[in-house]
Structure formats: structure tokens, C-alpha cells
Symmetry: D2
Subunit: 410 residues, 4 copies
Amino acid sequence: MTVSRTVELEGHIIDSGTMGHCFGVVMDMGGEFEVEEFEVGRHKHAETYCRMRVLAETESDLRAILHELNQQGATVADPRDATLEAAPEDGVVPVDFYSTTNHPTFVRVDGEWVEVEDVEMDCALVVEKNADDERPRVYTKVLNAIEGDDLVVTGETGIRVEPPERPRNGSGSFGFMQGGVSSERPSASLIEEIADEMREVRENDGNVLVVCGPAIVHSGGRDALAELVRGGYIDALSAGNGFAVHDLERDLYGTSLGVDTESLEHPRKGHKHHIYTISEIARLGGIEEAVDEGVVDDGVMYECVRNDVPYVLAGSIRDDGPLPDTITDSIEAQNAIREQAQEADIVLMLATLLHSVAVGNCLPSTTKTVCVDINPATVTQLLDRGSAQAIGMVTDIGTFIPMLAEELLE
Amino acid sequence: MTVSRTVELEGHIIDSGTMGHCFGVVMDMGGEFEVEEFEVGRHKHAETYCRMRVLAETESDLRAILHELNQQGATVADPRDATLEAAPEDGVVPVDFYSTTNHPTFVRVDGEWVEVEDVEMDCALVVEKNADDERPRVYTKVLNAIEGDDLVVTGETGIRVEPPERPRNGSGSFGFMQGGVSSERPSASLIEEIADEMREVRENDGNVLVVCGPAIVHSGGRDALAELVRGGYIDALSAGNGFAVHDLERDLYGTSLGVDTESLEHPRKGHKHHIYTISEIARLGGIEEAVDEGVVDDGVMYECVRNDVPYVLAGSIRDDGPLPDTITDSIEAQNAIREQAQEADIVLMLATLLHSVAVGNCLPSTTKTVCVDINPATVTQLLDRGSAQAIGMVTDIGTFIPMLAEELLE
Amino acid sequence: MTVSRTVELEGHIIDSGTMGHCFGVVMDMGGEFEVEEFEVGRHKHAETYCRMRVLAETESDLRAILHELNQQGATVADPRDATLEAAPEDGVVPVDFYSTTNHPTFVRVDGEWVEVEDVEMDCALVVEKNADDERPRVYTKVLNAIEGDDLVVTGETGIRVEPPERPRNGSGSFGFMQGGVSSERPSASLIEEIADEMREVRENDGNVLVVCGPAIVHSGGRDALAELVRGGYIDALSAGNGFAVHDLERDLYGTSLGVDTESLEHPRKGHKHHIYTISEIARLGGIEEAVDEGVVDDGVMYECVRNDVPYVLAGSIRDDGPLPDTITDSIEAQNAIREQAQEADIVLMLATLLHSVAVGNCLPSTTKTVCVDINPATVTQLLDRGSAQAIGMVTDIGTFIPMLAEELLE
Amino acid sequence: MTVSRTVELEGHIIDSGTMGHCFGVVMDMGGEFEVEEFEVGRHKHAETYCRMRVLAETESDLRAILHELNQQGATVADPRDATLEAAPEDGVVPVDFYSTTNHPTFVRVDGEWVEVEDVEMDCALVVEKNADDERPRVYTKVLNAIEGDDLVVTGETGIRVEPPERPRNGSGSFGFMQGGVSSERPSASLIEEIADEMREVRENDGNVLVVCGPAIVHSGGRDALAELVRGGYIDALSAGNGFAVHDLERDLYGTSLGVDTESLEHPRKGHKHHIYTISEIARLGGIEEAVDEGVVDDGVMYECVRNDVPYVLAGSIRDDGPLPDTITDSIEAQNAIREQAQEADIVLMLATLLHSVAVGNCLPSTTKTVCVDINPATVTQLLDRGSAQAIGMVTDIGTFIPMLAEELLE
């Protein structure tokens, strides 16, 4: 071992497993370490401090190890600036660009640690050095948004990540970056906790983003969701063409995919209501126009228009129509979703995998998420995205939303 | 075609597909038919009548065809008596014994059609010829209950089955012998319909049997179910050792499988509450004794004891303990379940596949069933059993029972 | 009943339930019927003929009934021409336009029944009257493709649909428009039957379209699929950005989503291979360029390029990147998929719901489909689309494709 | 903090999270700790040593903390004997009895640590003090097996548990006590690894227990499983009545639940084959008799009889019949399963939840397990049981067994 560097770890690094991880990283990558100082936090809220010397065979091995330690939140005692390289052309990143995580990230530019704006995973980091005395900015860019000459962070030096710490005493019903979901928890209690969170976000002028799948309408959760929009509990809505059409069909024809959601009957020709709804809205020019003309006077989309709750309808290849409001280009739709995601303080993902994944891709790990679906595999997949605070609930959206609305609106 | 017989069909035989089936049976089995009379029911409630001559090459072919037509509800114009054979020994049926369906069935004995008692599928039919002038009785016996010298129906002659007719205008939310289950129906409306059915059964002094899985307790549906028992909406309960232990653990320790169902916390040692609950009830001698001594004063099992709602706890190889109340022999348990099933006018199958299948195996096709589970495969499998009136609902038992109780108790 | 018309039904109308349906339609819609002639097909391959007089209260009621009968395949004795109306503007259909099914359809124009080209459900029918003596053409158009002045079929007159007949003796392993899927069938036998179908399509110069989900790569089915492409068993491929990236990542880095698919190990930084693959292909300009430059020399996409098998990569909002080859506009992507679908004689839908639904939306009911997924709900949803000949198989794509390839290539 | 004791931890306590857990236990339970010595293992295979002084307010608090530390594998420097209490009567344990985990456990009796025999979770520990110089024995007993005067371990003193250590570099494809299951792993590679394990167990004269669900027969895995039995790869078989009946039906009638597993056809009356099979075997007296008389000459049960592979058929309330070989009493069946489980070195759980849970309940955490099912929820639930080395695989049993057999037999 010919080269070495000193590294510090601080925080709840024992409980959270960070210390074990860091020791493991060094050993896995062929290095060694010597613990120079180790102060254990003995009380619940006390933090632990560990300083260690990391040794490696070559400078390049050492750099690789330090990079991984940085990704775990360790601080190198004597850090260097990040390496920057200009993008060769639009949409093309330099080879060996740094691909982001969704955790808070800092980049060292000109000797200073700069916090990355709009953290999002699988992006490049672009540095903007400003004129004069202003501090440089660092922000994320998806690959397709890269422009020629953008200064992109490459390699492994000068990047520090702060993965969220696992809270000592659980985080109430919010689980910590957990991949699993327990269906063995009482539904009504969980719904109360979700309502409490939403109330708190609202009291703090926070932003609640709801991601909606069409099952909300089929399963009878639509009216309660409309009430939540009207009641001011929803600040933005993200959905697909299908959700909007089902919601509007319910208003125009009293059916959802041709089924009368009250009487459960299938009116003859009901299966055509779906496509008729689309052509009717298209004729009027869009949802807002349909509301303005009084053709649509009820439902989730209606309440969004009336209460100025912005919505994004992202297109997909399985869409009928689509509605004039639907964004058919997926990059354009992702950009619209990205804006919603970055505003959100809590995201409710309701009975849609596709749109929830799209939103989840844009979220920093610090945003709270609630994932509700009747399919446990969907909930598991969404929780795997790694939010620091997430509730996964395997339940029926058709009973969930009414019970949530009852909690909030009574 | 050298032999023939005349067969009659009557009822809603066009809508229900019976006529098409019968024509198909004849052709598939190598016979031919001539429609001699055909009166179509022109109005919604009018029945159709069809008389046809069935032809076959040999007497044995003809007998096989007629048997199949009988199974579809057709009546042979000139019927013969059923063939009877004595069982060779206990638990052994004659070769070629008739294995039952779960539809109303009639056996021709001494020139008379006798209705089969306690219809149940996959059983043998035993004929009891009584002394003197009394009519003979015919009833079902499972294989293991056969006794030496029982007169068992064999072959295909003299047996008539009346499969239920598909109702013309749907049957409300009850589906007809359907194998599929739609999750695209509004949950709250379906729950209302189920509540209506239960109210009606109760008003007609009918019998409501509820089959309970342990998820009822984990998911927070226990208190509402206990209220339904107290409110007189449940006449019998069928479950396993697990359900009872979870319900009792909730009462004794405030946890379910170690989780506090209110606070969602896991008290240290909570995972031992399950086995402690069993040993505690075992010490007292059983559930009724635990209620009498005031140790158990809350929950579903408590309300059953207090309100004289009889319960069957059927054992299984995955049981811990088990409780003294649990019937560990599966034949004995099936017999206890059989009695419950034969009494029931409507059966609610709640979040358990094993116990629902066991109950469903004993039900005639005329009993209404409601199957509720979060796993669509479970609901589909239960509906496949072929009840003439069944509702399948893919939902969360932890929101379903509270909403059902609210409908019924308010 | 003041108005009436004569209607004829012909074919296997008893087995297929068509006759029962037609009688039901008349009664449900308030009409009556008198069977004037009824000739039953007595042998397996004989057809049945039924002529009936349909009566209704008003001319408009009668028209509605006749329309529904036409949808079932009945022929009105004295038909009229379809009603045509010009589209008011681009993307807007006339009110009351006829929305298509996916069954073979005929429209009566100038006294002649014209078969609809490119049958597809939920479309408008556009009539093109040609100059001089040429016959008019009728074809489907999706709503967004409608142009001002297109002559669109409206109302219910002059449209005849030929729903496929249920075959008498099953259709081998292909099920008939069935909503359910049995997992209780032996996998190896089913795979043999699918291989037989593919061989037959190939021998008849037919077209095999394969729709691919990313799980093919994760689960280890990629190499076998590449062999099938190389062996000439695949004529077109439809997938998303994700499938192509996973396939290319496997080639470039030996991993799939960062997992080494042979050793099952997770190389450090493996999770970045996904995004690196995208940037690498983007740098080169696309998949074909990457193959030409020798960077990609293995896998499914490679074999497609080398063997001139055309592929469509349809974009979605959950895509990373995307690759330059991916069509990001959903309408443009649907148009590309539509072309593939119309060419196909058999479609294999492998482990993707989104892309399978998109393809299925464009298929006529006469195209054979094979749906393979490990999630039974996905298979059920795909079979519900109503192909006349469909096999649904709940299995592991990672064992299915190797076994299929072994059948076909040995 | 008035009382204290010294505790030692040794092993891979950092990687495995044990150290973090132990520190957490002390803090959660209101104690404090002082790390007196801490030697970190710097190399891959080096172990870490930690000695700490644990402080608490009261002696009883301290005892509770020490008990929890023992459960994590910590060793108290100055241990005491376990508390023993006689069982009050048959089937009743003393209040506060110690309920076991499935990890290797040691009990201190008369100053000596005695290893518990037949480790199994949720049992009581019974101490047998032998005459003269022999060492005392300690073994597990399920509650229903407790006899009056059995010396049962109570309280928290003198019990030490050795939870398995998480291996540093993964354990190949075997996961470590993981609750989740990834379907994103290549199936063929996993099957190879399972085959390797089975080969190794066989070479070491180990014992392979296979737990079988009826889907093996439906899905076409039966013949390959029979070959594995014949080939000597299976040492014991655990199943239910249904599996055996399906296997025998296949032999007697060529069908499984009435479906011809080769031609996929449903022979008329095929649905009766199931119950006919049962009555046929019952007539002969059992499976062995049926094999001896040459009535059964093929299949899994046949090979078990011919190759002296012992089987347990455990009864359940959903059984038809049952067969004479089926153990109908669940306690008796559990005892038979327990014997199989304690012999096993590796357990393959194939497409059955009920029987796999029953076997899993009896396994120590040191037995390797392989769980295969098409339903991910089943695999997850089985892995949750906490085996130190488990592979979970979500796949089709009908393709899995043939591929496994091909690996092993060729």
C-alpha cells in the first residue's frame, strides 16, 4: 500500500449501516484502512465520528475508492476540484461523464463545494461558471438536453453525495428506502397517517402532487378525488390521456369504459362512449374549452380547471385519440413532469405504474412519496426508486380515496 | 343410426346457451338429432320449448349421449331407473359410481324422480330405500364416508341434473358462474349491493356464513367484523387457527403478529405474542373458557361466544399451537364445515383461499357467494367453483369490512 | 309492433351463441321476432340457417335493432346504403360517427357491400369514392388522422360486421376470444404448439411480429431470441427504448441493468452501464451506425440490423435517454406500429404490457396472437382484446424463449 | 446508571450489521454503553472484535438488555444459568417460557453451555438432566408436545443465540435472509446454480427434500421430477393429497384434473378422473399396493415407491378423498414433516405455499432453501422465513423442472 488519504465519517453512521458500508467498500476494492479516531454516539440523538486512513496500491485505485466513499457520504480530508469537460455536441456527453444519484450532491468547483440544483438520478452534471464574483452553479441535465460546449463533470473527483440517514426510531409509517412493502399493516391507520402528512404539507404551504391512473375512475374513487381538488388538498396533477378521458366520459355519459358506475349496468353502445368523449372534447378544442362552454361540469379535470390546479397529461402509445391536451412527445412530456416533480413536497402515486415511474425518475430522494396500488409488484417497484421517506400501500384505490377524503374533509 | 329416443328442453335455453350445448353434445358424441318442435320464447320472460329426436349407432352410444343431455338439464321422454350397486366395503365405492356436480340433481328410483339431498360436488349418491310406503331418499356422501353395503348410484341412467339458468338481464352485481372477475367496477357501489343482499337474507331469517382469513386482523378489519357479529349480521363463522389466534392476540396484547395495529409500532418481543396467546388460551382450556374468565373481552371470537354465533376452526399443517378449539383432523373439520355450508344462504369468503375452497367444495351451486381478496388469482379461483350467483371483488379487506359495516350498521 | 324487416342468419350460429345473442338483442331493445325458417345443421360441419321477421314500435327502434343484429353478423334482407358525412375539420369527426370493431366489416356504398381495409377497432370509417368506374374504397382512420372533408360513415345503417365464429372442436391450443387464461396447462406442450404455428407461418411466407419487453434481457432470454432472428423466424420487432438499451448494454458491458447475466454478480458501477450505453449509442448516431462501426456485434438488435429485420422502438415517458432510434412522438410511433400490425400473420407478445396493448389496438380480430407473461393479469388483459385465435401463457420468459428456440432451431 | 456488565462481540460484526444492531438495542432499551476495545478486521476474511460495558438503571433492565444482546450473538462476560420451570400439565407451558428462533441456540445449564438439538422456531426449550456424569440435553418441543413436568426454560437468562453472519461477498446466488426476490435475474443461470448445489449435496451424501405442489403435474413438470427421483437426486418428498392424486391420475387416465397433458384436450368425463383415481387407489389400499399390483407404473409417486424415497402426504381441508396414504391429522402430519425437515440439507419448495410454510416452520436457519413459484408473493413470503441461504425464483415450474433435470441428468 503506497498511497493513502484520510477520510472522515460523521452522523448516525452505525445505525444507518454507513460505517459498515464504507469499511466494506475499501476492502472490496483492494484497499486497507486504519481507524484513527472513533467516537461512538451513546445516546439516541448523539452522532458518531470516525476518522480513518485509507490505503491503496496505486493513485488510481485510491481515487476510485475515495469516489465510492464520497458516494456514501464520507468526506475526504484533502479534497480536489471536480474534472470538467465540454460536451462534444448537442445530446452527446463526454465519455466518462458522472451519472447522478437522486441524493443531495455537492461538486467542488474552484475550491468550493457547490450544491447541485434540481437533483435527479441518471443525469449529467453541468457546471455554469458565472462572470465576476458570482458563485458557479451546478445543475442536472438529462442526456437529451445536453448542448454542445456544456461543461460536464467527468471522472470521480470532487463529487460528494449525502445519502439520507436512516432515522433511529423508524419514521412513523414512512419507511426508509425500503424495497419491500408489508401488506400486514392496518389500512385505516395508514390512511390516517397519510392524511396527517397531507394536512401538514398544506399547513406549511407545501406542494402536493398526485399521479393518477385510470383505475381511479373505474373503481369509483373519482368523486372523492374531485372533492380533494376542490378542497385545496391537491396542488398539481400528473396523469395520462386515459385517466382524463375516463373522468370526462363519466361526466358526459355517466359511464366509465362503458359501465355505469352507479348501477353497474352496461348500457348498449356504452363501449363507444370512450371514443365519443375524445371526439367531443377534440371538437371543442380541449378540456378547458369544454369546461368553459359548460359541456363538462363535474369531475377531477373539471375541478382542476376551476381551481387552477395545473395538470400534465402525458401521452403514450396505447392512447386513443388523444385529447388535444395530451402531450404526445415523450421528451416534452418528461420535461413537463420534471417541473411538477421538482415543485412537489409530497407525491401521491395512485394506481398507475407508468406515470409514477416517470414522476419518480425526476424526484430527489428527499421528497416524500406515497405509493398506492392493488398490485404488490407495482408498489414494490415504486418503493425501489429509493425515496428516503416512502409509504407503500397495497389496497383498493376505490376504497382508499373515499376514506382519505373523509379523513381530510370532515 | 339405428336407435333413437325423444328428448325435451324447456326454459331460457337459448340465452343460457343450453340449446347450443345440447346440439353440440349430440354431434360431438357421434349422434344426430331432428328438431321435432321448437317454440321460441319471444318476450323477456317467456320460455323456449324444444323437442328433438336423438339418434345413435348403438344403444350404448345412445345411453352415453342421453346421460350428457341429462347433465345439461334435458329430459328424456321415456326415462329408466338409476342403476344401484352396493359398496364393497367402508370407504370404497363401486367401480363406475356416479360422481356428482353441485347442481340440483334427481335420481329415478322405482319409477319416481327423487331429489338429491345435500347436493355437493365430487360425491357418490347413496339411495336409502325405506320400509313400507315411504319414499326412498337419495343423498350425497363423500368417499371416505361410504359404508359397506351403501346402495350407490352407478352408470349414467336415471340421473337428471338442473344446471342453473343464466338470468336474462344479468343478476345485478351477482355474476353467473363466471370464471373471470372484473376489477373495473366501482368498489363502493359493489359494497352497497353486498350490504343489500345481507340485509335481505337477514330479513328472511336466512343464514349468513362468513369465512375469515388472518389478513382481516392485520389489515385492520377486525373491529368492524366484530361489530357485524354483535349486530346480528353473521350467523356462522368458518376460519383457521391463525385467524382466531390473531384476533385473540389483538385482544390480549394489542398487537397482530407483533405489530401494534393502532400505532403501527413493533413492540420489542412483539413477535412472541403470537405463541404466548396460544399458550395462554391453552392454559385456560379454550376460547369460551377465556371469555368466561374475562381474559378475552373484545374482538371477533369474543363476540361469537357472547352472541352464540357458532364457529368452526379448521386445523392446517402451518398452524402454531394449535388452540384447543381447533379441529386438527381434516376429515372431521370438513364434516363440521359441511354442516355450516349446507345451512348457509349466502357465504362471504374474506381473504382466505384455503378455507374458502374448503367451504366452496361443500356448497350447492344455488348458494350465493361473495369472494373478497386483494389477490385477483384467488378471487378467480373461487369464482371458478361455479356458483350460480357470485360476486367477486378484488379489494383490500382492511377497507372493505369497515365500509360494509358502515353500510349495515348506520 | 308496427314496422318489421326480415333478417337472415347463417353459419355455426348455434354453437357460437350467435343465434341466442340475436334473439336476445331483439328482446332487450323492445322488439319481437318470429322465426320464419329454421334449418339446423345436424353434422359437425353443417351450417344452420335461420330467417326471422323482426318487429319494432317505430322505424328508429327498428333501425337500432337492425344495426345491432348487423354487428352480430346478421344480414338484413333489404339493406340500405350507409350514411356518409364530411368531417368538419382536421382531427374532428362528425357527431354520431360509426366507431369500428376489430372484426371484418362491410359498408354498403352505392348499393354495393365494400369490405373495409385495414380493420382496426375504435376508428372512423372513411369512404373514398373514386372517379369513373372504379369501386369505392372504405378504410379505417384513427381520430387524429381525420382530415377535413373526409367522407365519414355515421349512424347505423349499411354496416355489416362478421364476428369470427367459434370453431366447433376448439382450435387446438388457440383459445377463442377468451377472457381467461388457464395456468393449468403443461408448458412444454404449449411451447411445441407455438413452435408449430411459427413454422407453419414461415412455410407460408407469412409474417411473424415479435413484441419485446426488457424482461427478456434480464431473465436471460436474449441470446435465444437473437438466434431466432438470425434463424429467420422473426420478420419484424416492436419494442421500447428500454428493451433496446438492455440488449445493447449486455453487448457493450456484459450486464443487464448492471447485473452480469452469467455470473449474477453486480460489478461496481454496473448501475451506470445503462446510461453509458445510451450515451455511447447516441455518440455514434444510432444502432445501425453502432453495428456498422463494429461497436455492437451481438444480440437481438444486432441480428435485426444484420438480417434486415425492421424494428420499431416506441418512446415512453419512463425512458432514459432515449436512443436516437426511438420514436418519441406517440402518434408517430403508433403509426409505425400500425404498419407492423397490419403486416403480421402472427404476433408474439413477450413480457410487455404497454407495447403489446399498443400493437393489439391495431390488430384485426383475425390475426393470431400469443401472449406470454409471468403476470397472469397481463395475459388476461391482452387476451381480452378479442383475437379470434389467441394463446395466453403464464410463464417465465427466461425459460420460454430458450425452449422455443430449441424447438425451432434443432 | 447503576449496574453494568461487560459484553463481547466477535466476527464479521460490521458488515453483517450486528454491531450497529447491538449498539441500537442498548440505546433503545434505555441503557448506555462504553466501547472498551475495538479491533477492526481490515482484510476480507479478518474478524472484528468489540468489547463494551453495558450500563442500565436497574438489574432487571440490564437483564432485558443482555437477553437481547444474546439474541444478536453477543456474549456476556460473566453469564448465569438459564431458569428452568416444570410444565404444569400436558400441552401447557409455564408462563414466560422462552420461545425459540430458528438460529443455533445454546442454553447454560449447571454452568455449561449446551447446544439446543433440533432447532426450530416458536418452540419451547426442554432441558433433560441426565443421571450421573452425562451432560444434560436441551431440545425444542412444540407446545402441543409438552408433557407435565417437562423442565422448560423461562425468562431471559442463560440463553445465547448465534444468528448467521452475512457473508462478505454475497453467497453466490443464495441470498442472505432476504425478504425480497428479484425477478430481474437470468433464469437459466439460476437453474445451473441450483443444479450445482444439488450435485454438491449429493456428492457429500447430503439429503435433498423436495416439497411439491399440484401445479407440477398440471404444468408438465411431472415426468422430469420422476426422472430426478429415479436418478437419485431426491432423498425425500413432502406434498399434499392433491399432488399425489394428480400424479396418479396422470398415470391411470393420462389426464391431470381432466386435461390430457399431451394433446391439451379435455376428454369427456375427464373431470371425473380425479375422484375416480382416489377411489381406485382406496380400493387397492394405498399407493404402494397400487404400485405392487402394477396398476401404477409411472410418475413421481411410482418412482418414490420403487426407489425407496420416503414421502409424507399431509392432509388439508380442501382435499378430495383423501388417499389412504394421506395423514389427515395436522399435528401428526407436522410431526412427520418435522422429521423430514430435520434430515434435510437442502429443501426445494416447488409451487406450493401451504406445504412449503409447513416445512419451513420446522427448518433451522442453517438449512439451504430454494423457493420456486410463479407468484412473486409466494416466493417473498417463503424467503421471509429467514433462511441464511435461500434462492427465490419466480418462474414457471413447468419449464423449471425439465431444465433442472436436463442440467443434472445429462
